[in-house]
Symmetry: C2
Protein backbone atom coordinates (compact mmCIF):
# COMPACT_ATOMS: atom_id res chain seq x y z
CA UNK A 1 0.00 0.00 0.00
CA UNK A 2 2.56 2.66 0.96
CA UNK A 3 4.32 2.17 -2.38
CA UNK A 4 1.53 4.01 -4.19
CA UNK A 5 1.85 7.18 -2.16
CA UNK A 6 3.74 9.89 -4.05
CA UNK A 7 7.10 10.76 -2.55
CA UNK A 8 6.18 14.47 -2.37
CA UNK A 9 3.31 13.54 -0.07
CA UNK A 10 5.62 11.58 2.22
CA UNK A 11 8.01 14.55 2.21
CA UNK A 12 5.26 16.84 3.49
CA UNK A 13 4.10 14.61 6.34
CA UNK A 14 7.03 15.42 8.67
CA UNK A 15 6.25 19.11 8.17
CA UNK A 16 2.65 18.51 9.22
CA UNK A 17 3.84 16.45 12.19
CA UNK A 18 6.13 19.26 13.34
CA UNK A 19 3.35 21.86 13.12
CA UNK A 20 1.00 19.55 15.04
CA UNK A 21 3.63 19.01 17.71
CA UNK A 22 3.82 22.77 18.28
CA UNK A 23 0.03 22.97 18.46
CA UNK A 24 -0.01 20.11 20.96
CA UNK A 25 2.60 21.89 23.06
CA UNK A 26 0.27 24.92 23.08
CA UNK A 27 -2.50 22.60 24.36
CA UNK A 28 -4.53 22.98 21.20
CA UNK A 29 -7.05 20.17 20.76
CA UNK A 30 -8.40 20.80 17.30
CA UNK A 31 -7.00 22.40 14.16
CA UNK A 32 -8.58 23.03 10.77
CA UNK A 33 -6.86 22.26 7.48
CA UNK A 34 -7.27 25.97 6.79
CA UNK A 35 -5.28 27.04 9.85
CA UNK A 36 -2.64 24.37 9.31
CA UNK A 37 -2.34 25.48 5.69
CA UNK A 38 -1.96 29.13 6.67
CA UNK A 39 0.87 28.22 9.02
CA UNK A 40 2.70 26.10 6.51
CA UNK A 41 2.05 27.93 3.26
CA UNK A 42 0.16 24.96 1.82
CA UNK A 43 -3.46 25.02 0.62
CA UNK A 44 -6.05 23.36 2.88
CA UNK A 45 -7.08 21.19 -0.08
CA UNK A 46 -3.50 19.93 -0.37
CA UNK A 47 -3.42 18.97 3.29
CA UNK A 48 -6.74 17.16 3.09
CA UNK A 49 -5.64 15.33 -0.04
CA UNK A 50 -2.27 14.33 1.43
CA UNK A 51 -3.89 12.96 4.57
CA UNK A 52 -6.61 11.15 2.64
CA UNK A 53 -3.98 8.64 1.46
CA UNK A 54 -3.87 7.29 4.99
CA UNK A 55 -7.54 7.19 5.88
CA UNK A 56 -10.07 9.63 7.25
CA UNK A 57 -8.71 11.85 10.00
CA UNK A 58 -10.98 14.86 10.24
CA UNK A 59 -14.70 15.39 10.40
CA UNK A 60 -16.25 17.71 7.85
CA UNK A 61 -16.29 21.20 9.35
CA UNK A 62 -14.82 20.05 12.67
CA UNK A 63 -11.13 20.04 11.90
CA UNK A 64 -8.54 17.53 13.05
CA UNK A 65 -7.96 16.25 16.55
CA UNK A 66 -4.37 17.44 17.08
CA UNK A 67 -3.21 14.64 19.36
CA UNK A 68 -4.76 11.84 17.33
CA UNK A 69 -3.51 13.13 13.97
CA UNK A 70 -0.03 13.67 15.35
CA UNK A 71 0.21 10.19 16.79
CA UNK A 72 -1.11 8.66 13.56
CA UNK A 73 1.47 10.58 11.53
CA UNK A 74 4.24 9.55 13.91
CA UNK A 75 3.15 5.94 13.47
CA UNK A 76 2.98 6.23 9.69
CA UNK A 77 6.40 7.84 9.44
CA UNK A 78 8.11 5.53 11.92
CA UNK A 79 8.93 8.41 14.24
CA UNK A 80 8.22 6.34 17.33
CA UNK A 81 11.20 4.15 16.58
CA UNK A 82 14.87 4.71 17.33
CA UNK A 83 17.17 4.99 14.32
CA UNK A 84 20.96 4.66 14.20
CA UNK A 85 23.15 6.79 11.98
CA UNK A 86 26.79 6.89 10.89
CA UNK A 87 28.38 10.17 9.80
CA UNK A 88 31.17 10.25 7.23
CA UNK A 89 33.14 13.50 7.03
CA UNK A 90 34.04 15.50 10.14
CA UNK A 91 34.97 18.91 8.74
CA UNK A 92 33.16 22.10 9.80
CA UNK A 93 29.89 20.70 8.51
CA UNK A 94 30.37 17.29 10.14
CA UNK A 95 31.17 19.01 13.43
CA UNK A 96 27.98 21.05 13.17
CA UNK A 97 26.05 17.83 12.54
CA UNK A 98 27.66 15.97 15.46
CA UNK A 99 27.02 18.80 17.90
CA UNK A 100 23.51 19.61 16.63
CA UNK A 101 21.03 18.99 19.41
CA UNK A 102 18.05 18.33 17.16
CA UNK A 103 18.62 14.72 16.17
CA UNK A 104 18.52 12.76 19.42
CA UNK A 105 15.18 14.14 20.71
CA UNK A 106 13.60 12.94 17.45
CA UNK A 107 14.97 9.41 17.80
CA UNK A 108 17.99 9.80 15.49
CA UNK A 109 21.17 8.71 17.17
CA UNK A 110 24.57 9.19 15.47
CA UNK A 111 26.57 6.19 16.69
CA UNK A 112 29.70 6.41 14.52
CA UNK A 113 31.70 9.21 12.87
CA UNK A 114 34.40 8.66 10.24
CA UNK A 115 36.96 10.82 8.50
CA UNK A 116 39.89 10.23 6.15
CA UNK A 117 42.14 12.96 7.58
CA UNK A 118 44.68 11.51 10.07
CA UNK A 119 44.60 14.78 12.04
CA UNK A 120 40.86 14.42 12.61
CA UNK A 121 40.80 10.65 13.24
CA UNK A 122 40.97 10.00 16.99
CA UNK A 123 39.54 13.41 17.91
CA UNK A 124 36.60 13.54 20.23
CA UNK A 125 33.70 15.50 18.72
CA UNK A 126 30.43 15.70 20.57
CA UNK A 127 30.18 12.32 22.25
CA UNK A 128 32.06 10.31 19.64
CA UNK A 129 35.65 9.50 18.81
CA UNK A 130 36.22 9.98 15.09
CA UNK A 131 37.32 6.75 13.41
CA UNK A 132 39.37 6.19 10.29
CA UNK A 133 37.11 5.84 7.26
CA UNK A 134 39.18 2.75 6.31
CA UNK A 135 37.63 0.99 9.30
CA UNK A 136 34.10 1.84 8.15
CA UNK A 137 33.35 -1.43 6.31
CA UNK A 138 34.48 -3.57 9.25
CA UNK A 139 32.62 -1.52 11.83
CA UNK A 140 29.37 -1.22 9.89
CA UNK A 141 29.36 -4.84 8.81
CA UNK A 142 29.62 -5.77 12.47
CA UNK A 143 27.04 -3.20 13.62
CA UNK A 144 24.93 -1.96 10.72
CA UNK A 145 23.25 1.44 10.93
CA UNK A 146 19.91 2.48 9.50
CA UNK A 147 21.05 5.70 7.85
CA UNK A 148 24.34 7.13 6.60
CA UNK A 149 25.11 10.85 6.64
CA UNK A 150 27.55 11.94 3.96
CA UNK A 151 29.38 15.21 4.68
CA UNK A 152 32.54 14.69 2.64
CA UNK A 153 33.77 16.78 -0.33
CA UNK A 154 31.97 16.21 -3.62
CA UNK A 155 34.84 14.24 -5.15
CA UNK A 156 34.75 11.63 -2.37
CA UNK A 157 30.99 11.35 -2.01
CA UNK A 158 30.07 8.67 -4.54
CA UNK A 159 32.75 6.34 -3.16
CA UNK A 160 31.55 6.85 0.40
CA UNK A 161 27.94 6.29 -0.62
CA UNK A 162 28.84 3.06 -2.44
CA UNK A 163 30.71 1.82 0.63
CA UNK A 164 27.82 2.65 2.96
CA UNK A 165 25.38 0.87 0.67
CA UNK A 166 27.66 -2.18 0.44
CA UNK A 167 27.56 -2.31 4.26
CA UNK A 168 23.78 -2.59 4.18
CA UNK A 169 22.85 1.05 4.77
CA UNK A 170 19.44 1.56 3.18
CA UNK A 171 19.11 5.33 3.44
CA UNK A 172 21.54 8.18 2.85
CA UNK A 173 21.36 11.78 3.92
CA UNK A 174 23.70 13.42 1.46
CA UNK A 175 25.23 16.86 2.06
CA UNK A 176 27.65 16.57 -0.86
CA UNK A 177 26.62 18.57 -3.93
CA UNK A 178 26.63 15.70 -6.40
CA UNK A 179 23.98 13.81 -8.33
CA UNK A 180 24.88 10.49 -6.74
CA UNK A 181 23.87 7.19 -8.25
CA UNK A 182 22.29 4.56 -6.04
CA UNK A 183 20.12 1.52 -6.60
CA UNK A 184 16.47 2.46 -6.51
CA UNK A 185 15.93 0.45 -3.32
CA UNK A 186 18.16 2.92 -1.49
CA UNK A 187 16.56 6.10 -0.19
CA UNK A 188 18.56 9.26 -0.56
CA UNK A 189 17.79 12.80 0.49
CA UNK A 190 19.96 15.77 -0.36
CA UNK A 191 20.69 18.61 1.97
CA UNK A 192 21.73 21.20 -0.52
CA UNK A 193 21.59 24.90 0.30
CA UNK A 194 22.41 25.88 -3.30
CA UNK A 195 19.37 24.05 -4.65
CA UNK A 196 17.23 25.77 -2.00
CA UNK A 197 18.65 29.17 -2.93
CA UNK A 198 18.12 28.48 -6.62
CA UNK A 199 14.46 27.68 -6.03
CA UNK A 200 13.98 31.09 -4.39
CA UNK A 201 15.75 33.22 -6.97
CA UNK A 202 12.98 32.34 -9.42
CA UNK A 203 10.63 34.40 -7.25
CA UNK A 204 13.14 37.16 -6.49
CA UNK A 205 13.79 37.55 -10.19
CA UNK A 206 10.05 37.62 -10.95
CA UNK A 207 9.60 40.29 -8.27
CA UNK A 208 12.42 42.36 -9.75
CA UNK A 209 10.89 42.12 -13.21
CA UNK A 210 7.36 42.96 -12.14
CA UNK A 211 8.61 45.86 -10.00
CA UNK A 212 10.01 47.63 -13.05
CA UNK B 1 2.44 34.09 -15.53
CA UNK B 2 5.07 32.49 -13.22
CA UNK B 3 2.63 32.84 -10.33
CA UNK B 4 0.58 29.89 -11.60
CA UNK B 5 3.43 27.44 -11.58
CA UNK B 6 3.29 25.10 -8.57
CA UNK B 7 6.09 25.62 -6.08
CA UNK B 8 7.05 21.93 -6.22
CA UNK B 9 7.77 22.36 -9.92
CA UNK B 10 10.00 25.37 -9.26
CA UNK B 11 11.77 23.34 -6.56
CA UNK B 12 12.62 20.62 -9.07
CA UNK B 13 14.03 22.89 -11.78
CA UNK B 14 17.37 23.51 -10.02
CA UNK B 15 17.79 19.74 -9.76
CA UNK B 16 17.25 19.41 -13.51
CA UNK B 17 19.66 22.29 -14.13
CA UNK B 18 22.34 20.60 -12.04
CA UNK B 19 21.97 17.30 -13.89
CA UNK B 20 22.10 19.10 -17.26
CA UNK B 21 25.23 20.95 -16.19
CA UNK B 22 26.96 17.64 -15.52
CA UNK B 23 25.82 16.31 -18.90
CA UNK B 24 27.14 19.46 -20.58
CA UNK B 25 30.45 19.02 -18.81
CA UNK B 26 30.56 15.50 -20.27
CA UNK B 27 30.00 17.06 -23.73
CA UNK B 28 26.61 15.44 -24.11
CA UNK B 29 24.45 17.21 -26.68
CA UNK B 30 21.10 15.50 -26.26
CA UNK B 31 19.34 13.82 -23.37
CA UNK B 32 15.98 12.07 -23.18
CA UNK B 33 13.46 12.66 -20.41
CA UNK B 34 13.86 8.94 -19.75
CA UNK B 35 17.60 9.17 -19.10
CA UNK B 36 17.23 12.35 -17.05
CA UNK B 37 14.49 10.69 -15.03
CA UNK B 38 16.62 7.61 -14.40
CA UNK B 39 19.42 9.80 -13.09
CA UNK B 40 17.20 11.82 -10.81
CA UNK B 41 14.69 9.26 -9.63
CA UNK B 42 11.81 11.14 -11.27
CA UNK B 43 9.47 9.74 -13.92
CA UNK B 44 10.04 10.95 -17.51
CA UNK B 45 6.39 12.07 -17.56
CA UNK B 46 7.03 14.29 -14.55
CA UNK B 47 10.00 15.94 -16.22
CA UNK B 48 8.05 16.56 -19.44
CA UNK B 49 5.12 17.98 -17.48
CA UNK B 50 7.33 20.22 -15.34
CA UNK B 51 9.10 21.63 -18.38
CA UNK B 52 5.86 22.09 -20.31
CA UNK B 53 5.00 25.00 -17.97
CA UNK B 54 7.74 26.98 -19.65
CA UNK B 55 7.18 26.13 -23.29
CA UNK B 56 8.25 23.38 -25.66
CA UNK B 57 11.81 22.28 -25.17
CA UNK B 58 12.14 18.83 -26.69
CA UNK B 59 11.12 17.23 -29.94
CA UNK B 60 9.05 14.07 -29.77
CA UNK B 61 11.44 11.11 -29.75
CA UNK B 62 14.52 13.29 -30.08
CA UNK B 63 15.16 14.31 -26.49
CA UNK B 64 16.31 17.67 -25.20
CA UNK B 65 19.20 19.73 -26.45
CA UNK B 66 21.31 19.81 -23.28
CA UNK B 67 22.88 23.23 -23.81
CA UNK B 68 19.67 24.96 -24.84
CA UNK B 69 17.54 23.48 -22.05
CA UNK B 70 20.19 24.31 -19.45
CA UNK B 71 20.46 27.92 -20.56
CA UNK B 72 16.67 28.29 -20.64
CA UNK B 73 16.41 26.88 -17.11
CA UNK B 74 19.17 29.18 -15.89
CA UNK B 75 17.29 32.11 -17.38
CA UNK B 76 13.98 31.03 -15.83
CA UNK B 77 15.50 30.53 -12.40
CA UNK B 78 17.59 33.72 -12.43
CA UNK B 79 20.80 31.73 -12.13
CA UNK B 80 22.66 34.05 -14.49
CA UNK B 81 22.40 36.87 -11.97
CA UNK B 82 24.55 37.61 -8.94
CA UNK B 83 22.82 37.45 -5.56
CA UNK B 84 23.99 38.88 -2.25
CA UNK B 85 23.47 37.13 1.08
CA UNK B 86 23.85 37.94 4.76
CA UNK B 87 24.48 35.16 7.29
CA UNK B 88 23.23 35.41 10.87
CA UNK B 89 24.77 32.94 13.33
CA UNK B 90 28.44 31.96 13.19
CA UNK B 91 28.57 28.77 15.28
CA UNK B 92 29.80 25.47 13.84
CA UNK B 93 27.06 25.54 11.23
CA UNK B 94 27.65 29.21 10.31
CA UNK B 95 31.36 28.47 9.92
CA UNK B 96 30.59 25.55 7.63
CA UNK B 97 28.36 27.85 5.56
CA UNK B 98 30.95 30.64 5.37
CA UNK B 99 33.73 28.30 4.32
CA UNK B 100 31.61 26.23 1.93
CA UNK B 101 32.97 26.62 -1.58
CA UNK B 102 29.71 25.88 -3.37
CA UNK B 103 27.92 29.22 -3.16
CA UNK B 104 30.16 31.66 -5.04
CA UNK B 105 30.51 29.61 -8.26
CA UNK B 106 26.71 29.60 -8.48
CA UNK B 107 26.42 33.37 -8.13
CA UNK B 108 25.61 33.46 -4.40
CA UNK B 109 27.92 35.77 -2.53
CA UNK B 110 27.79 36.02 1.28
CA UNK B 111 28.68 39.66 1.95
CA UNK B 112 27.96 39.98 5.69
CA UNK B 113 28.08 37.67 8.72
CA UNK B 114 26.57 38.48 12.12
CA UNK B 115 26.62 36.90 15.55
CA UNK B 116 25.44 37.87 19.03
CA UNK B 117 28.34 36.28 20.92
CA UNK B 118 31.01 38.90 21.82
CA UNK B 119 33.70 36.21 21.54
CA UNK B 120 32.74 35.53 17.93
CA UNK B 121 32.13 39.15 16.88
CA UNK B 122 35.28 40.55 15.28
CA UNK B 123 36.62 37.12 14.31
CA UNK B 124 37.65 36.57 10.73
CA UNK B 125 35.86 33.55 9.21
CA UNK B 126 36.36 32.74 5.56
CA UNK B 127 36.74 36.16 3.93
CA UNK B 128 34.49 38.08 6.33
CA UNK B 129 34.83 39.76 9.70
CA UNK B 130 31.90 38.74 11.91
CA UNK B 131 29.84 41.77 12.96
CA UNK B 132 27.64 42.29 15.99
CA UNK B 133 24.05 41.35 15.22
CA UNK B 134 23.03 44.65 16.83
CA UNK B 135 24.56 46.41 13.84
CA UNK B 136 22.54 44.33 11.40
CA UNK B 137 19.64 46.79 10.89
CA UNK B 138 22.00 49.70 10.19
CA UNK B 139 24.21 47.73 7.85
CA UNK B 140 21.42 46.08 5.88
CA UNK B 141 19.36 49.25 5.62
CA UNK B 142 22.40 50.92 4.09
CA UNK B 143 23.28 47.96 1.85
CA UNK B 144 20.33 45.58 1.47
CA UNK B 145 20.94 41.95 0.55
CA UNK B 146 18.79 39.67 -1.57
CA UNK B 147 18.73 36.70 0.78
CA UNK B 148 19.25 36.13 4.51
CA UNK B 149 20.70 32.90 5.89
CA UNK B 150 19.56 32.09 9.42
CA UNK B 151 21.85 29.73 11.35
CA UNK B 152 21.02 30.77 14.93
CA UNK B 153 19.49 28.60 17.68
CA UNK B 154 15.75 27.95 17.38
CA UNK B 155 14.84 30.36 20.18
CA UNK B 156 16.47 33.30 18.41
CA UNK B 157 15.35 32.49 14.87
CA UNK B 158 11.96 34.22 14.62
CA UNK B 159 13.43 37.48 15.93
CA UNK B 160 16.30 37.34 13.45
CA UNK B 161 13.93 36.56 10.60
CA UNK B 162 11.67 39.49 11.54
CA UNK B 163 14.67 41.83 11.62
CA UNK B 164 15.93 40.63 8.25
CA UNK B 165 12.48 41.10 6.72
CA UNK B 166 12.18 44.59 8.24
CA UNK B 167 15.48 45.44 6.48
CA UNK B 168 13.97 44.54 3.12
CA UNK B 169 15.25 40.97 2.78
CA UNK B 170 12.77 39.15 0.54
CA UNK B 171 14.04 35.58 0.89
CA UNK B 172 15.26 33.55 3.85
CA UNK B 173 17.24 30.35 3.93
CA UNK B 174 16.40 29.04 7.36
CA UNK B 175 18.54 26.42 9.12
CA UNK B 176 16.74 26.85 12.47
CA UNK B 177 14.26 24.08 13.25
CA UNK B 178 11.21 26.28 13.77
CA UNK B 179 7.98 26.84 11.88
CA UNK B 180 8.70 30.53 11.33
CA UNK B 181 5.98 32.98 10.44
CA UNK B 182 6.58 35.39 7.61
CA UNK B 183 4.38 37.46 5.33
CA UNK B 184 3.44 35.48 2.25
CA UNK B 185 5.45 37.83 0.02
CA UNK B 186 8.61 36.56 1.70
CA UNK B 187 10.14 33.37 0.35
CA UNK B 188 11.50 30.97 2.91
CA UNK B 189 13.23 27.63 2.46
CA UNK B 190 14.17 25.37 5.32
CA UNK B 191 17.34 23.39 5.52
CA UNK B 192 16.29 20.81 8.00
CA UNK B 193 18.07 17.48 8.25
CA UNK B 194 15.50 16.10 10.70
CA UNK B 195 12.65 16.60 8.23
CA UNK B 196 14.73 14.88 5.55
CA UNK B 197 15.46 11.96 7.89
CA UNK B 198 11.81 11.72 8.85
CA UNK B 199 10.77 11.46 5.22
CA UNK B 200 13.09 8.46 4.79
CA UNK B 201 12.09 6.49 7.86
CA UNK B 202 8.67 5.98 6.30
CA UNK B 203 10.37 3.77 3.72
CA UNK B 204 12.77 2.11 6.16
CA UNK B 205 9.85 1.23 8.36
CA UNK B 206 7.88 -0.12 5.41
CA UNK B 207 10.88 -2.21 4.38
CA UNK B 208 11.20 -3.59 7.91
CA UNK B 209 7.51 -4.50 8.00
CA UNK B 210 7.46 -6.16 4.58
CA UNK B 211 10.66 -8.05 5.38
CA UNK B 212 9.00 -9.83 8.29
Amino acid sequence: MPIDIPEVVIDRLPVYARALKLLERDSREVVSSYELGEQLGVTPAQIRKDLSYFGRFGKQGRGYNVHRLLSELRQILGLEQQWTLALVGVGNLGRAILTYGGFAPEGFSIVEAFDANPEIVGQCVGELVVRDVKELPDILHRSPVDIGIVAVPAAAAQGVIDTLVSCGTKAILNYAPIAARVHRDIRMRYIDPVLALQSMTFYLKSAKVSAR
